[in-house]
C-alpha cells in the first residue's frame, strides 16, 4: 500500500536488513505501538477527572522527553521509516478493531465516528490551507452547506443519503467556488478577514433564511443512511452477538476518511499538488512559470470545500439534527486548529490533530467549565512553542533511485 505511506514523508532507502534484524525491529515496533495505542485507548475510556489529568500529564511528559532527547526522536523516526508497512498495517488494524474493543460503551464508538468526520473536514481544509496556503477562517460554511443540502433533501424530498452525500459535497464546493472569486484579489490578513466575514454572514443567513434551513429550529428528524430496508440505526447481529449501531457509522466514517486520505495523498504527489505548493511558496514565480494561479486557487478552495461538505452530510445523518449553532466561528477555529496543531500539509498529522481535538475536549468535560479555558491556553502554548504543528510537513519525500543520481553526478562531474 504505497498510498498509505503517509507517516513518513521521507526518502526510502533500499532495505538491506537481514531477516533477523527485521524481526527484531518488528518486535520492538509491535511492543511500542501496542503500548502507545494501549495507553491511548485507556485514555479514551477514562471517566474519572483525576485519571484524565494524570493521563494528560503523562502525554505532556512524553512529549517533553521526546523534545529533549533528539536521539530518542531519531531512533523512533528511523524505526518507523524502516518498517513503515508494518506500522501502517498495525495502525489500520487498530482502527478496525477499535469499535470491537469498546462494544459495551457505544459512546466511544460514536466519538470515533465523529473523529472520522472531523478528519475528513480537516483534510479538506488541509488542501486549501496546507497545500495551497490559502487561509480559510470560514470553513464551517462548507460544513453547513453539506449538512443542510443532504439533510433537507432527505427530509423534504426523501432523497437517499447516498445521493445526498455527493450532492452535499458539490453544494459545498459551490460555496467554496463562490468565495474563491473575491478571495483571489486578497492575501494574508485580508484573505483571513474575507473568509471570516463569509463565515459570519453565512451563519446569520442560516439563522434567518428559514425557508432553506428551518432557521433556529434546526433540521430535525434526519433519517439515518439506509441500504434497502436496512438502515444504519439497526444494529447488525452476527452469530448471536449484536453489534451496536454506532459501529455502522464508525465504519462509514472510517471508509470515507480513508478515501479522503487516499485522495489527499494522490493530489499531494501529483503535478497539481506540486503546483499548489508552488503557489503557496512563491506566487509570483509560480505565475511566471505557467501556473494558472487564479484557476488553481479556485480548484483548491472548491476541493477543500467539497470534503467539508462530505463531512457535513455524514454528520447530519449521523446526529440526526442540524442547527446553525453547529456552524459558528468556533467550529471554524476548531477545524483550523486541527490542521495547525497536526501540522499544515502533513496528512497524518492533520488526521491525528482531528482525532485529538475531537476526543480531548470530550475528556476535558470532566473539568466542566474550565474546558474552554484549558483549550485556549493550550492553543496559545502550541502557537508559541510549536507553531509548525506536531508533525511538520517534511518535503523530502520524493523518492529517487539513488543510482541514477549517482550516475548523473559521475557523468557531469566538475569540469
Amino acid at each position: 500500500m504505497p498510498e498509505l505511506d503517509f507517516i513518513n514523508d521521507q526518502i526510502v532507502r533500499s532495505d538491506t536488513r537481514t531477516l533477523k534484524e527485521k524481526a527484531k525491529d518488528w518486535i520492538i515496533l509491535f511492543c511500542c505501538q501496542s503500548l502507545i495505542f494501549g495507553v491511548f485507548l485507556v485514555g479514551i475510556a477514562l471517566e474519572d477527572a483525576l485519571l484524565v489529568t494524570g493521563f494528560l500529564l503523562l502525554i505532556i511528559l512524553v512529549a517533553i522527553i521526546w523534545n529533549r532527547r533528539p536521539d530518542l526522536n531519531q531512533w523512533s523516526q528511523e524505526l518507523l521509516r524502516n518498517n513503515r508497512h508494518f506500522a501502517n498495517t498495525f495502525l489500520v488494524l487498530i482502527l478496525v478493531l477499535y469499535p470491537f474493543i469498546f462494544m459495551d460503551n457505544p459512546y466511544l464508538i460514536h466519538l470515533g465516528a465523529l473523529a472520522a468526520i472531523f478528519a475528513i473536514m480537516a483534510l479538506g481544509l488541509n488542501i486549501t490551507l496546507g497545500f495551497c496556503g490559502l487561509l480559510d477562517v470560514g470553513f464551517a460554511v462548507y460544513f453547513a452547506a453539506g449538512a443542510y443540502t443532504s439533510s433537507q433533501l432527505a427530509v423534504h424530498f426523501d432523497v437517499s443519503f447516498w445521493i445526498g452525500l455527493p450532492l452535499g459535497g458539490l453544494m459545498a464546493a459551490l460555496f467554496g467556488f463562490a468565495i474563491a472569486w473575491p478571495a483571489l484579489r486578497v492575501h494574508d490578513h485580508y484573505l483571513a478577514l474575507v473568509t471570516l466575514g463569509y463565515g459570519l454572514i453565512m451563519n446569520l443567513l442560516q439563522r434567518n433564511f428559514t425557508f432553506l434551513t428551518n432557521g433556529t429550529d434546526g433540521v430535525i428528524n434526519i433519517p439515518p443512511p439506509a441500504i434497502g430496508e436496512w438502515d444504519f440505526i439497526q444494529p447488525i447481529t452476527i452469530g448471536g452477538i449484536e453489534f451496536p449501531f454506532q459501529m455502522n457509522f464508525y465504519f462509514l466514517g472510517l471508509i470515507l476518511a480513508g478515501l479522503t486520505v487516499l485522495i489527499s495523498v494522490r493530489l499531494r504527489d501529483s503535478n497539481l499538488g506540486r503546483q499548489w505548493e508552488a503557489i503557496r511558496e512563491e506566487e509570483i514565480a509560480a505565475k511566471c512559470f505557467g501556473i494558472n494561479v487564479p484557476f488553481l486557487k479556485i480548484i483548491a478552495f472548491s476541493t477543500g470545500a467539497f470534503f467539508g461538505g462530505i463531512g457535513g452530510a455524514v454528520f447530519a445523518h449521523m446526529i440526526g439534527f442540524v442547527h446553525p449553532d453547529n456552524f459558528v466561528l468556533l467550529t471554524s477555529i476548531m477545524i483550523l486548529a486541527m490542521v495547525i496543531i497536526g501540522g499544515m500539509g502533513n496528512i497524518f498529522g492533520v488526521v491525528l490533530g482531528a482525532v485529538a481535538l475531537t476526543l480531548i475536549p470530550e475528556r476535558l468535560r470532566e473539568f466542566e467549565d474550565l474546558r474552554m479555558l484549558l483549550f485556549g491556553g493550550c492553543l496559545v502554548l502550541i502557537m508559541i512553542y510549536r507553531p509548525q504543528g506536531l508533525f511538520p510537513s517534511t518535503r523530502r519525500r520524493r523518492e529517487l533511485k539513488s543510482d541514477r543520481v549517482n550516475e548523473l553526478i559521475k557523468k557531469s562531474g566538475r569540469k
Partner: protein, 267 residues
C-alpha cells in the same frame, strides 16, 4: 544602427510606456531582441530595467505601447502572466524567488509544469500515461540539473532552502531552462557573487546559450556583460539611450553620463 533582421527578431517593443502615478518608469521604449543571441540591458539603478521585465511578463499593466513576441507576433500585453510562459518566455528574479520548501528537483519540475498534462482527474486515477509522463519529466529534470555539474544534482532531494546563495541563483536558471523557453530573461544573475562564482555563472550562461537558448539579461557587472553579451542596450530614466556592441555602448557619451554624471563627461 544596422537594420534589424525581421525574421530573426524574437521580442519587439514599440512605444512601451509605464507610468506609476506620475512617475515614468518606462518611457516610449522601442527595442528588438535577436533570436539566438545573448543580449544584455545595462543602466544605473532605477533606470527601469526590472520594470521592463515585469512588463514583458505582464506582472504590471503597461500604460501604452506593445510588446510582440516570436514569429507569430503574439502581443504579450494581452496575455495573462501564466500564458506568457507557455508562449515561450521564462525569467529569473533579482530578489530570488525559489519555492524554498520544495526540493531542488521539484523546483525544476514546476518549471516544466506547463508542459505536463496531468490535471485533477489524472492526479486521482493515476493512469498509465500520467505515470509515464511523471517518469519522463523527472528524467528530464535530472538532465537539466546535470547541466550545472554536480552542484545541484547531488542536492536534488533536499529542499531548495538548503542551497547556498550561488546555487540558488543556478537553481533559478535551471528552472527557467526546464520550461523550454524561446527566450530566457535573467535579472542580475550574478548579483552578490564573488569573482570566482561570477566566472562560473558566465560559463553556465554560455553553456545554456550553446544549447540553443536566446538570452536577455539585466546586469550591473560589466565583466559579465563584456564576457557574454553580443548585443547591449543601455537604459536611463526608462528610455533606451544606446545600443550596439559592448565596446560601442560602454563608450557612448550618454551612457557614461548616465553612470557617472555630467561632471565625468566634461573631464
Amino acid at each position: 544602427m544596422e537594420p534589424a533582421d525581421l525574421d530573426n527578431t524574437i521580442l519587439k517593443c514599440q512605444g512601451l510606456t509605464k507610468n506609476f502615478g506620475g512617475v515614468l518608469a518606462i518611457n516610449n521604449l522601442d527595442l528588438e531582441v535577436q533570436k539566438g543571441k545573448i543580449t544584455a540591458i545595462i543602466g544605473p539603478n532605477g533606470s527601469g530595467k526590472t520594470t521592463f521585465f515585469n512588463l514583458v511578463m505582464h506582472l504590471y499593466d503597461a500604460t501604452s505601447g506593445q510588446v510582440v513576441f516570436g514569429t507569430e507576433n503574439t502581443n504579450l500585453l494581452e496575455l495573462p502572466t501564466h500564458s506568457i510562459n507557455r508562449v515561450g518566455l521564462a525569467r529569473t528574479f533579482q530578489t530570488l524567488r525559489l519555492f524554498l520548501n520544495l526540493t531542488v528537483l521539484e523546483n525544476v519540475l514546476i518549471g516544466m509544469s506547463s508542459q505536463l498534462n496531468s490535471g485533477f482527474g489524472a492526479a486521482l486515477i493515476k493512469p498509465k500515461w500520467a505515470r509515464e509522463e511523471d517518469k519522463l519529466a523527472e528524467e528530464k529534470a535530472l538532465e537539466i540539473l546535470s547541466l550545472f555539474g554536480s552542484r545541484l544534482i547531488s542536492m536534488c532531494n533536499e529542499p531548495a532552502s538548503s542551497l547556498s546563495y550561488a546555487n540558488r541563483r543556478r537553481m533559478e536558471i535551471a528552472r527557467c531552462v526546464a520550461s523550454q523557453p524561446k527566450l530566457i530573461l535573467l535579472d542580475e544573475p550574478v548579483a552578490g557573487m564573488n569573482p570566482t562564482e561570477t566566472r562560473e555563472v558566465i560559463k553556465d550562461i554560455q553553456k545554456i546559450h550553446e544549447a540553443g537558448h536566446t538570452i536577455l539579461l539585466i546586469e550591473h557587472d560589466m565583466t559579465l556583460v563584456e564576457g557574454v553579451a553580443e548585443h547591449v542596450f543601455a537604459f536611463d530614466h526608462g528610455s533606451k539611450i544606446a545600443e550596439g556592441q559592448f565596446k560601442e555602448v560602454s563608450n557612448h557619451p550618454a551612457v557614461v553620463e548616465a553612470y557617472l554624471g555630467k561632471q565625468a563627461l566634461k573631464q
